[in-house]
Symmetry: C2
Amino acid sequence: MTVEHDGGPGAASGEAPARATRRRGAALEEAILRAAIEELDEVGYPSLTMDGVAARAGTAKNVIYRRWPSRAALCVAAYRRMLPAAPEDIPDTGDLRSDALAMLRRGNDRMSSPMGKILRELLADIQSDPERVREFREQLVRGNTGPWLTILARAAARGEAGPAALTPRVATVAVDLLRNEYAINGVATVPEDILAEIVDQVFLPLVRAHT
Amino acid sequence: MTVEHDGGPGAASGEAPARATRRRGAALEEAILRAAIEELDEVGYPSLTMDGVAARAGTAKNVIYRRWPSRAALCVAAYRRMLPAAPEDIPDTGDLRSDALAMLRRGNDRMSSPMGKILRELLADIQSDPERVREFREQLVRGNTGPWLTILARAAARGEAGPAALTPRVATVAVDLLRNEYAINGVATVPEDILAEIVDQVFLPLVRAHT
DNA sequence: AAAATAAGATACTGGCAGTAGTCTATATGC
DNA sequence: GCATATAGACTACTGCCAGTATCTTATTTT
């Protein structure tokens, strides 16, 4: 039953220096999320520990648990904070095939990046918690559907596609298949020829069929 | 440094009764796999423990580790043992749409079953181990491609599809999209109307486009 | 200035993967 | 049939980590 208290802030684990003042509320929350983000891309989701985050943030675990109910919840919050806020520019080459390939390459880059890896690990670990899955899905699916519908709409205006192709299901076929490659193959990155295969064997014929 | 030895086989954890003879080699391996299978469908992959399997098999953990290097490896082996050996009958209604829907429903049933859940959890936990992922992929992808190509070939013979549709990419589009639903939505089962959407908005138009 | 709130520090619980060492039943070799 | 090698059985242990509890103390609120 010996409990020692040397006091002194920042005496945690050598990760963070002593601080003059004690952070609270939003500022502290911010610091924790930043620490979690750094840990995520340094060691990855599976190796991220709450002790690690706490040490890096210069705080204690229970402070983290006061805000997020679990490791997974913290990481979901941190992941969302990592996402680029700015809406990306949508390819517009005047040719549907080029636009689609450009979109798919971008998706491939994202999924093969550390962020993509983290996303998949996180998503897998969350499956038992529908609430948290929903949080995620919104962000992911919405982010894709819009741009793909846009390049399809432009193609339709050029006569490259029929208006019947302008459904979310058709529009996101290519990314959906790409995502599937990752799920099944568990590879670091999907090679270019698979991207071309998806575009030429599935996406383009399908879009043309909806004319 | 007190080490006690009461001896007596089967004194493990009350799970398995004492055994007259000591199992070895193949028989023991079989018993362990059977125990793992039972644990898998009783508690699921995330909650399966090596202690649990050992107790149920009436053996000790190190005996398991002598055969499989890790919990994941054991479960992969057990999972493969669970798969039905008999090749399934392929739907043949004389109508491509009906065949495709039947195939997709079957896939949906499989994926929403406990086995499907285990498969996804396992696959997710394995991603860092390319060797083991490959083991899996063979089994899964091959199992789908054949039947889908068969129903497509029959459709082609009836003039419902062109020979250009007879590629693995096109043939498996529907299951691939279904798998994607599970990955993204994290639901227990995919509703019937999504299956119809996949068939009617993607699979059929695509196949017809390849005529 | 007193009371309330929440941060900080530390220790603890409990579970589990994987390892080690010792004993002993069975198989194998002579 | 006996000696030796192999590997199963048992127990214990290490190390790691999620999540909890408790106590002290800085800061805010009243």
